[in-house]
Assembly symmetry: C2
Homo-oligomer: 229 residues x 2
C-alpha cells in the first residue's frame, strides 16, 4: 500500500470521528480502528496526535480562507476594484455559514468537524487560531476602502461583531432552535447570511454618525454590582 493511502485514511477517519464524537471522546486507537491501519501509523505519518489534529484544522481553515478571499475578489471585480461593504461582509461570513449550516450539511464531515473545532477548542487548534489574525487584515483593508469615512475602531468592532454572530450561530444553533421552538429556521442559510450581513453593516454605520454609540441610558445604579444577589 502506498504511504499516502494510509495517511489519508487516517485523516479521513480522524475527521469523521472527531466530527461525530468530539475531540474529548476519540482516542488514537479509535481512529486507527476506523481507518483499518496500525496504531503506530499515526505517529509515523504525523509525528503526534496533536500534529494530526493541527493538520486537519489547518487544511479546513485554508479552505475557508480561500473561499472568503475568492468571494471578496469576485465582489471587487464586479464593482470595478471596489466592493460594497455588504458584499465584503457577505464574503466574510458567507463561506463559514454556508459550510456549517443548512439541511444537507448534516452529512458534511468537514463542516461538522469545524463546528466541533469551534466548540471544543483543543490546544493544537487554539494555537493555530491565535495566529489566524493576519488573514482578517485583508478584510479590514477592504472595508477601509469601502467606507473611508469610518474610523478603524468602528471598523474592527463591526468585523468582530460579524464574526461573533456567524460563529455563535454555528456554535449554538441547537440552543437557538430549542429556545425559539423551531421558529428560527436554521436551514435557511441564505436568510441567515442576509441577517448577519445586514446587522453587521448597521453596526458599522454607528461609527459614521458619531464616534461614540448614541444610546446610553442611565442604568448603572450604584447598588447593582456583582455582589448583591
Amino acid at each position: 500500500m502506498p504511504s499516502d493511502q494510509t495517511r489519508s485514511a487516517i485523516l479521513a477517519a480522524a475527521e469523521r470521528l472527531y466530527a461525530d464524537r468530539g475531540f474529548g471522546d476519540v482516542t488514537l486507537r479509535d481512529i486507527v480502528a476506523e481507518a483499518n491501519v496500525n496504531l503506530a501509523a499515526v505517529n509515523y505519518h504525523f509525528g503526534s496526535k496533536d500534529e494530526l489534529i493541527a493538520e486537519l484544522f489547518v487544511t479546513r481553515s485554508i479552505q475557508t480562507n480561500r473561499e472568503r478571499l475568492n468571494e471578496l475578489k469576485v465582489a471587487e471585480e464586479r464593482g470595478g476594484g471596489r466592493a460594497s461593504i455588504e458584499d465584503i461582509m457577505r464574503a466574510l461570513v458567507g463561506p463559514t455559514l454556508r459550510g456549517c449550516l443548512g439541511p444537507d450539511r448534516e452529512g458534511s464531515t468537514a463542516a461538522r468537524f469545524m463546528i466541533r473545532a469551534s466548540i471544543e477548542s483543543v490546544p493544537p487548534i487554539r494555537r493555530i487560531k491565535n495566529r489566524e489574525v493576519d488573514h482578517l487584515r485583508k478584510f479590514a483593508a477592504a472595508m477601509r476602502r469601502a467606507m473611508p469615512a469610518s474610523n478603524d475602531t468602528e471598523l474592527y468592532w463591526g468585523l468582530h461583531f460579524a464574526l461573533s454572530m456567524a460563529h455563535h450561530t454555528i456554535r449554538e444553533k441547537e440552543r437557538l432552535l430549542k429556545l425559539s421552538e423551531g421558529k428560527c429556521d436554521l436551514d435557511d442559510v441564505a436568510g441567515i447570511i442576509d441577517r448577519v450581513v445586514t446587522v453587521s453593516v448597521m453596526a458599522l454605520t454607528i461609527g459614521e454618525v458619531a464616534s461614540k454609540p448614541p444610546v446610553r441610558p442611565a442604568v448603572m445604579h450604584g447598588r447593582l454590582t456583582r455582589q448583591d444577589l
Copy 2:
C-alpha cells in the same frame, strides 16, 4: 476541621486553578495540593471530578442569572412595569460583560473561571448549558412586552445576536485586541455594553420594517461553492 471547610477550600482552589490554567491542564492532584487537602476528599465531598466542575459552574451561572433578572426588574419598575427594549438588552448582556471584562476584573477569579468555561466547554459544563434555555425565556417575554409589534422570530434572532456579540467579545478579546492593534478598548466596559445594546436593538428593528431583512444583493454565483478553491 468542620466538613464545610475542606469543601469550600476545594471549591476555591479548583476555581482558581481552572481560571488560571484551564480545565485541560488541571488535575485533581493539582487541586488538592493547592487546597491543602487529601486527594480522596474531592470524591468524598463531590462524588466525582465532573460534579465538582458542575457545582462551580452552576454556582456562577445562578449568580449571573440573578444579576440579569435583578437588573431587568429594576428597569421594569423604573418604567412602571414595562422596561424599554434598550434596558432589557442591557440587563441581558450587562452582567456578563461587566463580570468578564474590564481592567480590574483581571483579578476576579470567578470572572476568569467563567471565561474559561465559555472557551473550553468541557462535558459537565456543556450538559448544564443545554438546560439553560428557560431562563432566557423570561427575557424573551420581556422583549415581547416591550415591542408587541415585532414577531417572535425576529425577537429570538435579536436575543441570539445580543448574546453572540457579548459572549464572543469575551471569548475572543485577546484576538480583537491583537487584530485592532489596541484600537478597540476592551477595558471600556460601559462603552462595549452600549455598543452591543445598540446593535442588538438595531437588529431587532429589522423585523419591524419587514419580516425579511432588506439587503440581499445577488452574490451567490453558481461557481462559488465549497469545492472550487
